[in-house]
């Protein structure tokens, strides 16, 4: 019952916020709505007794990624895209259709594959210890691979922004 009381409002907020992310003219508002979406999503994670994931969600996403995006927006000083809202283009209608259809299909898939509840959860389900244990035992390889990926993206990010200064004129010519 409690679950229900928490789930429905939270889900409604998540859906509303995510719609705002997609639909709002101003990038900076979009970013803030995204922050909200992610925050409330963490609630739902918590509801699913994935406490560690919920915490990470807030820390990494809300704390890290969104801040990064906000920085970027401010750095670029982006304006509202007015032109986009003035008319309903064929592309938007098609996208809407495709999105709706995608939803339908995915829902059908989920309904068809309805998994039964396990009667009781194991005691250590979703605990930080358990997650940590799994990560360095069963999934240690993926864990290491991810760390490599982080290094790669780090290096990539630096190289991209640094190389820009040198090759700026070259790329302009190309255009």
């Amino acid at each position: 019952m409690i679950e229900m009381i928490i789930f429905y409002p939270t889900a409604a907020i998540v859906i509303l916020f995510s719609l705002m992310v997609v639909l709002h003219k101003s990038p900076i508002r979009s970013a803030l709505f995204l922050l909200g979406t992610l925050f409330f999503m963490a609630f739902i994670f918590a509801l699913l007794s994935a406490h560690f994931v919920a915490v990470i969600q807030i820390l990494v996403y809300a704390g890290g990624i969104i801040v990064l995006i906000l920085f970027a927006i401010m750095l670029l000083n982006l304006q509202k895209e007015d032109s986009e809202y003035d008319h309903i283009s064929l592309g938007k209608v098609i996208s809407l259709g495709l999105g709706g259809f995608l939803f339908l299909i995915i829902s059908i898939v989920f309904f068809k594959m309805y998994p039964g509840h396990s009667s009781e959860l194991p005691a250590n389900f979703g605990t930080i210890e358990e997650v940590g244990r799994l990560m360095v035992t069963d999934y240690v390889f993926a864990f290491e691979a991810i760390s490599l990926l982080i290094i790669a993206s780090l290096v990539g990010g630096v190289v991209l922004v640094r190389g820009l200064i040198n090759s700026k004129s070259k790329l302009k010519k190309l255009k």
Binding site: V21, V22, S30, L38, I44, L48, I56, Q57, L76
Partner: protein, 104 residues
């Protein structure tokens, strides 16, 4: 009673919204945010299934996905900033460097 299906349908809705965003917005940053939405809905599915199956492995993947998302955002933002600084474009319609000049 909230079943796993509820969560899954919520995930599907958010995925579809994210998808719609990617397909319609012209601003690169907003597109990137929409992608984040989609990733998050995937996380939700994982977690929902984890609960349903009683398997904590379903929690590991969201963590990985978040890490990947972080990397993606870092690199993606770097690219966007590079492009913007180079040509003052943050609009996908302008990104046609790789297109054949004649057929444009």
């Amino acid at each position: 009673m909230i079943t796993t299906t509820h969560y899954l349908v919520l995930a599907a809705i958010i995925f579809a919204i994210g998808c719609f965003g990617v397909l319609t917005r012209r601003n690169l940053l907003v597109m990137l945010m929409s992608v984040e939405l989609m990733l998050n809905s995937a996380n939700l599915t994982f977690v929902a299934f984890a609960k349903s199956l009683g398997d904590t492995s379903g929690h590991i993947f969201p963590i990985f996905i978040m890490t990947v998302a972080a990397c993606e955002v870092a690199v993606g933002l770097a690219i966007i900033i590079t492009i913007f600084r180079m040509s003052k474009i943050s609009d996908v319609l302008g990104l046609t460097f790789m297109k054949d000049i004649k057929s444009g």
